[in-house]
Symmetry: C2
Subunit: 445 residues, 2 copies
Amino acid sequence: MTKRKEMQLALQMVSGYGAEFSAWRMPGTDPAAYTNTDNYVERAKIAEKGKFQMIFIADTPALTVDLGPQTPSFPMDPMLALMAVARETEHIGLVATHSTTFNYPYNIARQFKALDVISRGRVGWNAVTSSTPEAAANFGMQVASRKERYAKAHESIQIVQSLWGSWQPDAWTLDTEGGKFADMDKIQPINLQGQYYASRGPLPIPPSEQGQPVIFQAGGGAEGLELAGRYASGVYANPYDIESARQHRQALRKSAARFGRNPDDVKMYAGFMFSIGATEEEGLERRRQLMSFNPDEIPSRVSYLGSMVGLRLSVHTVDIDRPLPAELLERTYASPQDPRSPRALQLLKQGLSIRDVLAHGVINYHPVVAGTAVQVADFLEEWFLADVTDGFSVVPDIAYDGVADFVEQVVPILQERGLFHKEYEGNTLRENMGVPYQYGSAETK
Amino acid sequence: MTKRKEMQLALQMVSGYGAEFSAWRMPGTDPAAYTNTDNYVERAKIAEKGKFQMIFIADTPALTVDLGPQTPSFPMDPMLALMAVARETEHIGLVATHSTTFNYPYNIARQFKALDVISRGRVGWNAVTSSTPEAAANFGMQVASRKERYAKAHESIQIVQSLWGSWQPDAWTLDTEGGKFADMDKIQPINLQGQYYASRGPLPIPPSEQGQPVIFQAGGGAEGLELAGRYASGVYANPYDIESARQHRQALRKSAARFGRNPDDVKMYAGFMFSIGATEEEGLERRRQLMSFNPDEIPSRVSYLGSMVGLRLSVHTVDIDRPLPAELLERTYASPQDPRSPRALQLLKQGLSIRDVLAHGVINYHPVVAGTAVQVADFLEEWFLADVTDGFSVVPDIAYDGVADFVEQVVPILQERGLFHKEYEGNTLRENMGVPYQYGSAETK
């Protein structure tokens, strides 16, 4: 088999507005998008037109932000949103986060597998352990130790996968004439008993067209790498630069090999944000406008930017609409703790105003390209040709038009350059990710 | 307010086939209906055309039957099925069972409230404690004592309702110009700590158009009556005859009054099954055909029928296609333990063949009318005018055509007789059930 040379794209959906703080206030955006499932369905349809491999809905079961200036960070309910999308799309994959800590394995297994069957094999489960204290409190828990959370995660994934495999592939006979709905000899309990979770099974759901949902992973650290290497076919990673992407991918591949798997069977998707304009100036202006909605946030952002380059910066002592004064610029250095620092420093040295340096997204969680579609494509090409990731989890600034801009402007460039497929490879998420069929638990496959 | 004089109708959906054992084998039925959500959506649309107040999906998280001859008794996933229905209907209520034992209150609160918001206020939660050992085993539990299960149920419902009310009704400001998404002073934690469950909250979901989902209850016994009287606005009951319906409804109303509520605010829906034909003979023939698919089941049904009337009956000693021999008929008597016995005895005495007595559904869980639409309407009218129930939870024998038959043939008769509404009273389930608005926990309303 020749090595796959095309990148893969996941569209990261959050609360329905896009990732930026003030996306909900942008003209055109439905301010009540949070409660209107149409927004998910429409964005997913556009992404499917753009041949995205999947949409991905991140989730934490808690309110974690101040809803005064900003929207919730997560959907009302990820599975209901994906169900709506499933019925109105044909090919695009449907991935959601569900916590291994705050859900019984049987309930996870059931709802994901049901959606996988309904969508004809397009579902993925991003299994996370959740360390958010607000989430734990919603379940009457405290955040457990990392060790315990990961021990629970292993049990959860193993039980879920075993439940998924509790019907043998040919158990569903559907013989109306002979009166045999299923072959009960081929539907067996799993009888798994762990320290934290147990389940008898079977799960009363037949195999989907891809067997069972695809496992994704998103956490970091040694425990996260182990979980990914052992079970995951897809990993959402958050490297800020090429070098950290390379390191993370190598660690993932090594972990997969350690568990006897082919490293090519674990695909990494690097988080990436964009703001597209007809010119670079327009892309930047879009982000300036987003910033302008919340002037109250600017002082803390300026101070944060300062800390990234070794300065104490305050809106009271510098004019943010001008470049950093030369005497301050002289004293800057990139923080070795923050991979975003070199980029911030580079832009400051180019003489951009402090406001514009911020508008370029240097303090964002993911790398940001604010500019033209060609610049966005160039960025993705550079990373992809450096062979540091299998694809990207792209996060629109404003979902309302950002998804369409990417699909209409960036995707054709990537396709022309031979970097992205022009048609879905198959009907299931596994086929479109290029990962092998799996049925039942990893141990028994 | 004058007393409501029209009955209410709930369509009970089970696995997608209808309630009868062999429904999946009937010509016209999609044998794979279990995995095809279209079946739920189509049936719900027909029920909405018939102005049904709600569809109701019962559930137990376990495989409880032998899938050799029969289909699963429950859907792959009730919430996903209701989500599909929500997007393709406008008025009909959407009720699903969720166990208070096998779900964290936060997860119940979240998914039901999200669906309630998405459906614009049409959702109900049938809160049950679940005593099925197979279900408990799927969660690594054993069936707890009745006392403990109900104690958990009280905590669960109180936490869920409090989470539902954690946004004050006017908290969602959505002020794009002023940049105020919500008023955080009006979104508060609930901080409930029980013996079994706890949750901090708030739930990040605004009020729905009916405030929050409607609570339903379905269990029996003193504990069930208490739960219903304290929290429920709707109760699915299973009386077999008018007298037991009257007793159950009186007990429900008394329980509501004991908790300081208006007894009229708790609506009872009596389970009812039907098989409709152009003539009584055709209705019966439909049920004979259903029985004929599973000749293996007949010996045990005959023996069961015998036990209901004080006889040891065997297919080896009687001809089931003939009436019960006179010498046996003489010795029959109605079992005082089984409210279905008088009806069985009556039909045997009328000289029906044993097969036809069974075809009339005398050993079914709910009362059955096999006959014409007029006979079905007569049955419903008799119960309703006896003032022993607020409505019916009707269970089609075969969903494929049974729902349409009821809507096209029975509903117009009920409407002509002034027994059933011709138009929805409002947009929300509460409005269409005629129960008051509630927001937050029962204690704080």
